[in-house]
């Protein structure tokens, strides 16, 4: 059970949060211009990394804010947490 440092509320138990998949996948601005393959890349393709991964999390049972997390999936170490729109930390 993680202890997650919500950037708006502080440290809270994992059960207050919802994981939201890979971070930094931007919705294409002009979807109609994309080929099926390009759209599929956005829609379906997700990484499943063993190691450092960038993820979206939502403080669903708290402030309901979304934020980003850098997590090592091999040992669940949370390396960084930053707000939506902020630049991801360089590794």
């Amino acid at each position: 059970m993680f202890l997650i440092n919500c950037p708006y509320c502080g440290e809270r138990d994992q059960q207050e949060f919802k994981a939201g998949g890979e971070a930094h996948i931007e919705r294409p601005k002009q979807p109609t211009e994309l080929s099926d393959d390009e759209w599929a890349e956005y829609l379906f393709m997700r990484k499943n990394i063993k190691g450092v991964q960038f993820e979206r999390w939502n403080h669903a049972h708290g402030c309901r804010k979304w934020f980003n997390m850098v997590r090592d999936t091999s040992n669940d170490e949370i390396k960084a947490i930053y707000k939506m729109g902020e630049k991801p930390p360089s590794q």
Binding site: M1, D13, K18, G20, A40, L43, D76
Partner: protein, 1001 residues
């Protein structure tokens, strides 16, 4: 007559408090402070169970939670009965009953014991190999296997006890209250850390509390005396909470631990009632100090499982702590010095020790000398090759061990005995450590796994960290505390420790016998009956991974999770495969460390607290009027209102007719409601719904369909424009929370530039939906000053009004196809509104209807229910709702996906109406639809999604999804059922009032 084996008074046993208890129906006596195991041993009862596979007689082996054999059913036949409880952990109380498991008719005479003699036919993987063929026989095999499998019996009536959960936060959690745990807790608390120390036993002190070895001294006192003073001091320290009978079950990441606190299991039945039995502590600790100690290893030799064969350390605990001799003629079998401590302990109490058999060729330590001086015969370089005694050990056979330890030589000596203490060295209890995600390293010299890479704020102190001698323990503990807790000085620097230094050990994982391995039974896992030869067989059959060998042989898979024998299994695999143990790794230790009851896991979340349920403000009225309820998400919704003994069908037929012929009223308060405000609200709706919203006039309503980005229908509902920058969205009842979550997601992460604010107002408003040709007259009676003409208040529009002093929002929208109003008031006025409508509608026979009638009425109109007629694979085009997709909008969620090659396929399943040729047959929802009856295998075209008997059309109607159904209008198909084939025809899904004339009726 049973013997009394009490040997001395122990301060932990209250001999003035005599307790009677029953074991296997027979009454015995023990004292307050005894465990079931110690009390049975005092009565000379060793045989307590039968093994799982071979039904071999088994005795008490240990004195702790690692016990593999002495697992019993407590209080059988009562509602408090519990299976698989370790007799070594049960504290006895007046009236306790317990019985053996896995034996029939009794532990003394067990039919299953025949398995022992058939054992050559039950090798590892027996079940996998035997029951594979013929495949069709599996059901028969399963029946028999299930009947012979399983250990205890679960209770058949509900649990009378109360269980609890508690969240605990502390700076330092110390797990284990042996010498190192006690010292760690003391210095943590004294340095202002909020500290919690837990121990699974009822007394603090671990094994040091009865350590009276004369060669070990702390500050010139015996370790026992010294530690007792420390414990006294501990009890007075502020900042420190001590919890006994509390066992840590799980150690998760980020120092989140689950512990079970046992509160009433040791009390008499009359004292158990109305108290919390067990409490699950959910502990979040800033730092964790593991002081879980070490478990003594058995030795693996032929027939090492007979009742009377025990761990040497357990014999010592029984004698020193409980004042019980486990036998009257004792032998010890060892590979290190610790058995000599046990031997001496017995000797000092006048209990006869026959011999010590040591696989080493010598030891120089003082304690060994002392044992020799006591006249106890020591057989150096000898091993046990066999034991005898079916229900109780009566002798051992020993032979000289070869220099390399792989074979035996010379002649066999038989020594009679009634108890054998085995000492195979110590395994640090690293289970919790590895559960936390931390990694172990194998120490080739000590032949143990030790903590290596910590992943959380933790330290392992004492023997679970590899320090076995008191001087090492104190020295390393001191250093670790200073480093980890940033403590500058401790008194530990000044403690004087004298110890007996010898530490020689000879490790042989599988001891040889003069009998070939194939004919021996050297047990590795006592509970699951896995022997060394099973492990070797698995290796011969090609298994290499330790995880695979474990599953194939079931080694370590019992309720004890192989706490005793896992290391030997690894050792034997490593020796046989010729690899190093460090390379082999270990199997995974999984929570819980010891089994937890279901009660502890669920705590108070039982019965009506199992899940929350939500009730509408009109709920009391529904209950008073005998509504039947259905669960929709977390809501309790009125399902139908039976009168005069109607069944559901009759009630629904009546309600449906009344709603169309005169007036009906539905409690629609459960619909999700989201208040949307902000200067970009219209643009936001444009992006999330498939249709256009910019031109919706203030005061108008519009139906919208929401897709996922993959183009599939996600939710639907009517949204009303309340003001220039203000909308009220409704969602499906079950989808409300998810829709809000999804909208927030887009707003926060994709479109933060939009000025839009979302607020859930589902619970703020109560909604009564008034429908039918007389609904207008009823509303007029309630609100006389409102112009209800079609010109002023047309379909799909909204008005604010007042009923008396109550402000309300009225939407003229319809989910039934009838002239209809949805009246919204502040939730607290909901019941009042409902009663007013009922009163006003009396002259029109206003009929309350529930969700079932609502479903029927909308099906007559062909309106979909998201989640019933759709399943996450339906696009609006599949639903034949192309009209709702804006052609003008550049983009909306899911738009691009509607033009993917897959979503454009013509042969997708599409929503159609379905009529049965016989109008009286009502199809089953979920029934499959086919076009050919004689195909094999038959091709499924689709399935029925909604089906009802329509009282207004006087025929059966259904909605279905059918492959390519859009172009199959009028086509004859079949719905094959178990006993008959039903002829059906594809029809227009709008069955009733196709021209929507009733909306303005």
């Amino acid at each position: 007559m049973t013997k009394n084996l009490r040997v001395k008074s122990s301060e932990y046993i209250d001999e003035t408090n005599r307790i009677s208890f029953k074991f296997n129906g027979k009454t015995y006596h023990g004292f307050k402070g005894d465990t079931l195991a110690s009390a049975l041993l005092a009565n000379d009862v060793h045989l307590v169970g039968r093994s799982f596979k071979y039904h071999r007689p088994r005795g008490i082996m240990t004195s702790g939670s690692e016990e593999p054999n002495a697992i019993v059913q407590v209080n059988p036949g009562t509602n408090r009965t519990e299976p698989n409880v370790r007799a070594t952990e049960v504290e006895i109380y007046e009236g306790l009953e317990a019985s053996s498991q896995n034996c029939w008719p009794s532990v003394e005479f067990d039919i299953g014991g025949i398995n022992n003699f058939l054992s050559p036919f039950f090798p590892a993987g027996f079940y996998y190999k035997t029951f594979m063929w013929p495949a069709s026989f599996w059901e028969k095999y399963e029946f028999f296997i299930r009947h012979s499998a399983g250990l205890g019996k679960s209770p058949t009536s509900s649990d009378p006890d109360i269980y609890d959960h508690r969240n605990v936060h502390c700076d330092v959690l110390v797990v284990g209250a042996g010498i190192s745990g006690i010292l760690a807790a003391k210095y943590a608390a004294k340095n202002n850390f909020k500290t919690l120390i837990v121990d699974e036993k009822n007394e603090l002190g671990g094994s040091t509390i009865f350590e009276n070895n004369e060669f070990n001294k702390i500050d010139n006192k015996t370790p026992s005396e010294w530690l007792k003073k420390e414990i006294e001091e501990l009890k007075g320290i502020k900042n420190l909470e001590i919890k006994t009978r509390t066992s840590v079950a799980a150690y998760h990441q980020y120092n989140y631990l689950l512990a079970r606190e046992n509160l009433t299991d040791h009390l008499e039945t009359k004292d158990k009632t109305n108290k919390i039995r067990q409490r699950l502590l959910k502990i979040r600790a800033k730092k964790v100090i593991l002081a879980t100690g070490a478990l003594e290893r058995p030795l693996i030799f032929n027939n090492n499982d007979r009742p009377g064969i025990m761990l040497s350390s357990a014999i010592k605990r029984y004698s020193e702590f409980y004042g019980v001799a486990c036998g009257s003629k004792n032998i010890f079998f060892t590979n290190n010095d610790s058995a000599y401590e046990s031997a001496l302990s017995l000797y000092n109490k006048g209990i006869h020790v026959e011999a010590v058999i040591d696989i080493r060729d010598q030891s120089e330590s003082k304690i060994v000398k002392k044992v020799e001086e006591a006249g106890i015969k020591i057989y150096w370089s000898h091993t046990i090759v066999d034991t005898a005694g079916y229900k109780r050990l009566n002798s051992v056979s020993i032979m000289k061990l070869s220099n390399d330890g792989t074979s035996v030589t010379g002649s066999k000596i038989s020594i009679s005995c009634d108890c054998l203490g085995v000492a195979g060295g110590w395994t640090p209890a690293v289970h919790l450590y590895t559960q936390s995600g931390s990694k172990l390293k194998f120490d080739e010299e000590k032949q143990i796994f030790l903590p290596n890479q910590n992943t959380s704020e933790q330290i392992s102190v004492g023997s679970c960290g590899g320090d076995f001698k008191i001087d090492e323990i104190i020295k390393n503990l001191n250093q670790k505390l200073k480093d980890k807790l940033n403590i500058k000085e401790t008194n530990l620097d000044n403690i004087k420790v004298e110890i007996d230094q010898e530490n020689s050990k000879r490790n042989i994982w599988l001891l040889p016998s003069d009998i070939p391995l194939g004919k021996t039974k050297p047990f590795v896992d006592f509970q699951n009956d896995a022997t060394a030869k099973d492990i070797k067989l698995a290796l011969r059959e090609g298994f290499r991974s330790i995880e695979h060998v474990k599953r194939y042989t079931t080694t370590g898979m019992g309720t004890d999770q192989g706490k005793l024998g896992n290391m030997h299994a690894l050792g034997i695999i490593a020796d046989t495969a010729g690899v190093k143990m460090g390379e082999l790794g270990t199997t995974t230790f999984r929570p819980p460390y010891t089994p937890l009851t279901f009660g502890t896991i669920v705590g108070r979340n039982v019965g009506k607290f199992f899940d929350i349920f939500r009730k509408t403000p009109m709920n009391d009225w529904h209950v008073e009027n005998k509504a039947e309820f259905e669960n929709v998400g977390q809501w309790k919704r009125a399902w139908y209102y039976p009168i005069n003994g109607e069944n559901m069908h009759q009630a629904v037929q009546r309600e449906s007719k009344a709603a169309r012929e005169s007036a009906g009223i539905l409690d629609a308060s459960t619909l999700g409601k989201i208040d949307i405000q902000g200067s970009d609200a219209s643009e936001f709706l444009n992006r999330i719904y498939t249709n256009a919203w910019s031109k919706l006039a203030i005061g108008k309503c519009r139906y919208g369909l929401m897709l996922n980005e993959d183009g599939m229908v996600y939710d639907d509902g009517v949204t009303t424009r309340l003001g220039e920058n203000h909308y009220l969205m409704t969602t499906t009842t079950g989808g409300a929370a998810n829709v809000l979550g999804k909208l927030e997601d887009y707003l926060q992460t994709e479109w933060p530039e939009l000025d839009v604010y979302l607020t859930s107002v589902t619970d703020h408003y109560a909604t009564a939906s008034l429908c039918g040709p007389n609904s207008k007259k009823i509303l007029k009676k309630i609100i006389s000053n409102l112009d209800l003409s079609d010109e002023s208040f047309p379909h799909m529009s909204f008005k604010e009004a007042k009923i008396g002093n109550i402000q309300c929002r009225i939407m003229r929208i319809s989910f039934t196809g009838e002239h209809s109003y949805e009246i919204n008031v502040q939730a607290s006025y909901g019941k009042d509104l409902w009663e007013k409508c009922m009163e006003a509608g009396k002259e029109f026979n206003i009929t309350p209807y529930g969700t079932e009638t609502m479903h029927l009425l909308r099906a007559e109109k062909g309106f979909i229910i998201v989640g019933q007629d759709t399943d996450g694979t339906m696009t609006p085009i599949d639903l034949q709702m192309d009209w709702i997709i804006s052609k003008k909008k550049y983009d909306f969620i899911g738009k691009r996906s509607l033009y993917r090659s897959d979503t454009m396929r013509e042969d997708r399943k599409q929503l159609v109406g379905l009529l049965t040729d016989d109008p009286n047959i009502v199809l089953e929802e979920g029934a499959q639809i086919v076009s050919e009856l004689n195909q094999n295998p038959v091709e499924m075209l689709g399935h029925v999604t909604s089906s009802y008997f329509s009282p207004n059309l006087n025929k059966s109607i259904a909605l279905a999804v059918v492959r390519g159904g859009k172009d199959m209008m009028g086509k004859k198909l079949f719905v094959p059922m178990e006993n008959k084939n039903i002829n059906v025809t594809i029809a227009n899904p709008v069955f009733y009032d196709e021209k929507n004339e009733r909306l303005n009726a």
